[in-house]
């Protein structure tokens, strides 16, 4: 059959198709050639599948698609979603613009991918070993997180993805194996990740020292805002995790060479780093324990800390620093100052970096004069940072950092197969 040309009708806007539902007739013009001519309707389901393959869907459209797929029973294999349009679009993409022969990844990026692959394989190994060991409480946490994250059917479930977050799983394993019962410890890490949704004292980090101000610095000088803000910060945290659950990593608290001295004298102004790495802190309850949950995409996150005493000398504040693997380790990125109110057992603070952080690997805390500083006061910061981390797995008990170059092990919270 020859082509049947027809003029586009400007009156036919998208309202017709937007009202349509599965099985409802759509437009019948456009004159496709040859055997394309028989097409006489587009269901809403097909519209959504085609949009997903070309321009993507927003959250409400995703929800609508899911509903329509369930109603139609039009599923494919184990994926639970019809991806034939996506496959067709991909094939057309390659045919229209095939990649240049011999094109390669830049060396640095290739190394980063391979490092991430190493982490992923180790996570699989860890997952295989802890399957079935999750506690009832952990299951409850998973369920809560899944509900909060609004179940993205494009992501994979992985207990392992939740364990370790952005850390090197190999190093976590190496460290944990030095203790007995590392499976139990791994479960603790799971809970640490999932425990991000528990209630706590909340506050605000006040930014300084960088070219940009922090979004959370609404109340400069009044860092811990207490109960009125608690719900707000918790809500923001829940939304943050839900919106970015495939792009989250946990940054461990870095080990300072003089950490124990700092911890022991924290009530006196020492201008020192504080805090052991997370898993050491598991056994040292008197030490500060904390993590930063970080989204590279959003360039923001949340800090949760417990065991950090309030500072007694007027004018002193804690300052948060985030170490970027691709920056000079002696120049961590300042990420705000904060106070710990007397009697607070734990604080939860939103975090925004002063400058872009491409490969956040860990964080540190120093005591600074009020307002903070541009660089940490302690010259020996480098000792806790990249140099120690790069010495290999013999440092595992105090080195839960990622390999230099960064990895990006996302925290996944849900279950179907992913893209």
């Amino acid at each position: 059959m020859p082509p049947t040309p027809s003029q586009p009708d400007p009156r036919r806007d998208d309202s017709t198709s937007r009202r349509g539902r599965a099985g409802e007739p759509g437009r019948q013009d456009d004159g496709f050639a040859g055997d394309l001519d028989g097409l006489d309707s587009i269901s809403r389901l097909d519209e959504l599948l085609i949009d997903r393959a070309t321009v993507g869907l927003d959250a409400s459209e995703e929800a609508e698609l899911r509903l329509l797929l369930e109603q139609s029973g039009r599923t494919v294999g184990a994926t639970g979603a019809d991806d034939t349009y996506e496959m067709l679009a991909a094939a057309m993409d390659l045919a229209m613009q095939p990649p240049a022969k011999g094109e390669k990844l830049p060396v640095q990026l290739r190394n980063r991918i391979l490092a991430a692959g190493d982490v992923w394989l180790n996570q699989r190994e860890l997952e295989a070993q802890i399957t079935g060991s999750r506690s009832t409480r952990a299951d409850a946490r998973v369920e809560l997180l899944e509900q909060t994250a609004l179940l993205d059917d494009r992501t994979d479930t992985g207990v392992l993805a939740r364990i370790g977050g952005g850390m090197s799983a190999r190093r976590v394993i190496a460290g944990l194996r030095q203790n007995s019962g590392w499976l139990a410890a791994a479960a603790c890490l799971t809970l640490a990740v999932l425990g991000w949704l528990r209630p706590t004292t909340t506050g605000t980090l006040t930014g300084q020292g960088g070219p940009s101000t922090m979004a959370t610095a609404a109340q400069p000088g009044n860092d811990i805002t207490g109960q009125p803000a608690a719900d707000d910060v918790s809500t923001r945290l829940a939304r943050f995790i839900a919106d970015n659950h495939d792009d989250l990593k946990l940054l461990p608290l870095a080990m300072a060479s003089t950490a124990q001295r700092a911890i022991g004298t924290i009530d006196e102004p020492t201008e020192d780093l504080v805090g052991p790495p997370a898993q050491l802190a598991l056994a040292a309850t008197a030490s500060p324990v904390g993590e930063v949950i970080w989204s590279s995409t959003q360039q923001s996150g949340f800090l949760r800390l417990s065991g950090l005493p309030s500072l007694k000398r007027p004018g002193d504040q804690y300052q948060l620093w985030i170490v970027d693997a691709l920056r000079d380790p002696t120049h961590p990125v300042p990420a705000g100052v904060f106070d710990v109110p007397a009697g607070a057992s734990e604080v939860l603070l939103p975090v925004n970096a002063a400058v872009r952080i491409d490969h956040a690997v860990r964080f540190s805390i120093t005591v600074e004069r009020s307002g903070g500083s541009v660089t940490p006061s302690l010259d020996s910061l480098v000792v806790d940072g990249g140099e120690a981390a790069d010495q290999g797995e013999q440092n595992a008990p105090v080195s839960v950092e990622e390999p230099a170059g960064g990895t990006h092990a996302p925290i996944k919270v849900n279950g179907t197969t992913g893209s």
């Binding site: 097409l39 085609i50 613009q97």
Partner: protein
């Protein structure tokens, strides 16, 4: 057939991770550069795509499509999602060069490689459509441009753009389903 790179990745074979990176790094990198607003996002996009590939590798079925197509499909899904997620709500207008490339009057020479039989077939079908239909489909697929962006760039009514893209791609799939392996996929 269980000896594809993707299946060996799914089996957790370390060497396969390296092979996958080297075999498809260029393809993924090119797609990521084409779809990313901001070139500083490209590295993160590439890593996100490879993570997705490792996780979905077990789904690859060589009876349905080539490994290249599967990799491109996974990459495109991630890139389209990223565009929506991290576009910072910037509605970046396509550049003149992009419009020109997408709407070039000369037919694009389809990739005749054995690895993309479906793509070559689809391109033949695409060339049967009217030029403006071909143009909006190219703009949509090659850059993931929104319907609004295409309408703005071409001066076509929004509804017409949507009609062309959706009906064009649906027609291609329907035709493919009648003649090719896509039908197998639908019937699984």
């Amino acid at each position: 057939m269980r000896d594809s790179i993707l299946h060996r990745v799914a089996d957790g074979e370390p060497a396969a991770i390296r092979e996958l990176t080297d075999r498809y790094g260029g393809l993924v990198f090119a797609l990521a550069r084409r779809f990313s607003f901001d070139q500083s996002e490209v590295d993160d996009a590439v890593q996100e795509i490879f993570v997705a590939l490792w996780k979905s590798a077990a789904r690859f079925d060589p009876a349905i499509g080539s490994e290249d197509t599967f990799v491109a499909m996974v990459a495109r899904r991630r890139l389209i999602d990223r565009r929506r997620r991290i576009s910072r709500r910037i509605q970046a207008a396509p550049t003149d060069q992009e419009i020109l490339a997408a709407s070039a009057a000369a037919p694009i020479e389809a990739d005749k490689s054995e690895n993309n039989e479906l793509g070559a077939w689809a391109m033949e079908q695409l060339h049967k459509l009217r030029p403006e239909q071909q143009m909006v489909i190219r703009m949509s697929i090659l850059r993931g441009l929104s319907h609004e962006q295409i309408a703005q760039a071409t001066g076509m009514p929004l509804g017409t753009v949507k009609t062309h893209v959706r009906r064009g791609i649906m027609a291609l799939r329907e035709s493919a389903a009648a003649t090719s392996t896509i039908r197998q996929r639908q019937e699984e």
